[in-house]
Amino acid sequence: MIELVNLNKTFRDKQVLFDINARFEPGLTNLVIGASGGGKSVLLKCMVGLIKPESGSINYDGRDFVHLPYEQVREIRREIGMLFQGTALFDSLTVEENVEFPLKMFSKMAPSERKDRVNFCLSKVGLENANSKFPAEISGGMKKRVGIARAIALETKYLFCDEPNSGLDPITSRRIDELLHDITREFNITTIINSHDMKTVYDIGESITFIYQGKIWWQGHRKQIDETRKHNPELDAFISASQF
């Protein structure tokens, strides 16, 4: 479980996050939605430690990520998997080497065990025959799946996804959504997905956080969203703009 308490972030004199309080439960697909520039990417980067917030705390199962010493922060980071918007696969490594990378760096597995684990992760994302290909040789959807396989290779407890569907066709998008949902359930991961794709919200959103102008505007389940939008003009405008 990840809990955010009074999180604030300012760039120079512009505050982008205002007193963010939220809780993300394991085994659920937690979606953070909102318009571009609304602060959701900054929030995600604060949560994984790429940006330091001015105040507030980020608790990973009770461990305050913001105020812990560097060594303990690194320990938590090893429990984190992240799927980046542009996948961030290492260009010089093959698909297999990309997925093996965190195992090679942090696990004490023998090479044969590592290979088994890599094959297991790749089979989970439906990529059995791409081991020796380089990222430049595979499609955008495949890259996303390799990114997911790499993110779960170390038996991740917390999975972050930044716009997992961006640049993908609707069918591949749905496949990625279903994959993230299934993995979250199967491994009881705390998954947080940044998205502005309303289709994802309606398909897999079990806990939705709507961010508007750096503030949490609404939180709830996808089943509540249609009722809420009637008396929440900001949420309604966001959903309407997505033609839902």
Binding site: L50, R78, D91, P102
Partner: protein, 246 residues
């Protein structure tokens, strides 16, 4: 001026952040060997061409300037070997390597920055500056002095070749001139320069790439900046080393 201090401070902090214990020594060793191959073996061709031609041209130009019949021809060998060892081999080779190796490192690391690969390393809990930069610096500090040693031999070889091909003087006389005044100390100066220049090239280019912000255009700019700054620093430190050691 404040920009200069900002850059200097950030560069020092970047260097300090690099010297952490590697997460996995075996991976670190693999990366260092890979970089040694890239920097050393990958630059051998250009170093060979430059060294032979610089040696040859220096010989011809020295001969052109020594017009007095009172000066023996073997002095050409002395001048060419000493100037190669002291200046041409370390400085010219490293200026060229700043262009080749420096731009390569800056664009590689810069590209990793703009495509979030460095963020991915950080999220995994890896010290990205050490993981990316340290193997390059160690590889450079090992391989560039080796290239300079090769360049020293090739420049003198190029001089001998030019002297022979143009019937300027026989090779024996050239070698005699080179050996008569040879001092081991000049090799120490050459190696000191090589080590300092190697550190400048690799650290400056990694630094420029690491702090790239933006996209493809900025990656290109980082490459240019890395080369320019490395060249200026090489020339500046060349002067300081010459002043201190000679």
């Amino acid at each position: 001026m404040s920009r200069l201090f900002f850059e200097l401070g950030r560069y020092i902090l970047f260097m300090r952040s690099m010297f952490f214990k590697p997460e996995r020594f075996r991976v670190f060793l693999e990366r260092t060997i890979h970089e040694m191959n890239n920097i050393g073996v990958g630059s051998l061709g250009i170093v060979t061409i430059i060294s032979v031609f610089v040696g040859a041209v220096t010989t011809l130009q020295t001969a052109y300037q020594l017009v007095s019949p009172l000066i023996p021809l073997k002095v050409i060998g002395t001048i060419v070997s000493d100037s190669s060892l002291l200046e041409f081999a370390p400085t010219i080779t490293c200026l060229v390597l700043a262009g080749k190796v420096g731009a390569n490192i800056a664009s590689e690391v810069g590209n990793m920055r703009v495509t979030e690969q460095i963020d991915a390393l950080e999220v995994m809990g890896i010290n990205s500056s050490g993981f990316l930069g340290l193997p390059k610096i160690i590889a450079g500090v090992i391989m560039i002095p080796m290239l300079i040693i090769i360049a020293n031999f090739l420049m003198i070889g190029g001089g001998i070749l030019a002297a022979r091909l143009t019937d300027l003087m026989p090779p024996n006389e050239f070698i005699q001139g080179a050996r008569e005044t040879f001092k081991l100390f000049t090799v120490s100066v050459s190696m000191t320069k090589a080590l300092v220049f190697a550190f400048i090239i690799t650290s400056m280019s990694t630094y420029e790439g690491y702090y790239t912000e933006g996209g493809a255009l900025e990656v290109g700019e980082a490459g240019t900046r890395a080369v320019t700054r490395a060249c200026v620093l090489i020339l500046f430190s060349d002067f300081i080393i010459a002043k201190l050691m000679l």
